[in-house]
Subunit: 150 residues, 2 copies
C-alpha cells in the first residue's frame, strides 16, 4: 500500500459517516499496524464539563477498523467489532488521544486464520490518554476480521 | 416527585448535551424505577447501513442516568457510569429501543448504601431491541450512585 492510499484511508476514517464526523474525531497518523487518533473535548462535552462516555467509546472503537484497513487487503477482508469492555478511570477534561498497534506477527496470524476459516478474532487493550498523559479510559476490544462473501 | 418534575427530567434527558442531542436520542417514558428510550437509525447510520456502535452505546448508557434522576433525590445523589461491557449481537437496521427498570427493593438498597458510605454500586443488563423485537445488543452496565460533596 502506497502513501497516497494510506492518506486516503486516514482521511476517510476521520469522517467515515455522520455520527463520527459530528464528534470532530480525527485519525492523526495511520500506517500498517499503527493508528494514532484524537477526539476533541469541545463538541463532546457533557453536563459536568468532561468528555461524554459515548465519545470516549467512539475514540476507542474507530482506530481498530482504520488500522485493519491499513493493514489487511480491503478487497478481501473487512473488520467488525464484536464486543468491548470500557472502564472509565478518570474524567477527561481535555482532548483525548489513543494509539493502537498490531505487530507484523499478529497481523500474519490474523490474516492466515481468516483465509483458512473465513474469519479470525483479535483482541487488544486501548488506553485513552488526556493532554496531561493521564489514562482516562481503558478498553478491551474484541474484533473480527472477515473474508468478503464467506 | 410529581408528573411535571418527571416530564422535565424526561425532556432534559432526551437532550442532556449536544453529543446526545445530535443522535436524535429520546426518552419515551420515565418514572421512578423505569426508563424507556429510543435511538433513531437515520442520523446514526454507519458505512454499511446499520446503526453505528457508538449510538448503540449511547442508547445503553443514558437511560441508567435518567432513571436514577427519576428515582433518587437529585439534590442529594448523582449517578456515574463506572464501566460497561457491550456485546453486538446483530446489525441494527431500524430504530432501536431499550427499557431499563429498577425495583423498589433494589432502589432502597442503593439509597441506603449510598447514605451510609457516600456511594453505592449497581449493575444491570440492557437488551437493545430493533423494530422486529430482535435483540441487537446486550450490555452489562456498572453504575455508581454518589452523594453530592462526599
Amino acid at each position: 500500500m502506497d502513501e497516497a492510499q494510506l492518506e486516503a484511508i486516514r482521511e476517510g476514517m476521520s469522517r467515515p459517516f455522520p455520527f463520527v464526523e459530528r464528534t470532530g474525531f480525527e485519525v492523526v497518523a495511520l500506517r500498517p499496524g499503527y493508528c494514532h487518533a484524537r477526539m476533541p473535548l469541545e463538541p463532546n462535552v457533557n453536563h459536568i464539563g468532561s468528555m461524554y462516555a459515548g465519545a470516549l467509546y467512539t475514540l476507542a472503537e474507530i482506530p481498530g477498523g482504520a488500522m485493519a484497513l491499513a493493514t489487511f487487503d480491503a478487497s478481501r477482508f473487512y473488520p467488525v467489532v464484536r464486543d468491548m469492555h470500557i472502564d472509565f478511570r478518570r474524567p477527561a477534561r481535555t482532548d483525548v488521544e489513543v494509539v493502537v498497534e498490531l505487530s507484523d506477527d499478529e497481523a500474519e496470524r490474523i490474516r492466515t486464520a481468516a483465509e483458512e476459516r473465513g474469519k479470525a478474532d483479535w483482541t487488544w487493550t486501548c488506553e485513552l490518554t488526556d493532554a496531561h498523559g493521564t489514562v482516562v479510559t481503558v478498553t478491551e476490544n474484541h474484533y473480527q476480521l472477515r473474508v468478503h462473501g464467506s
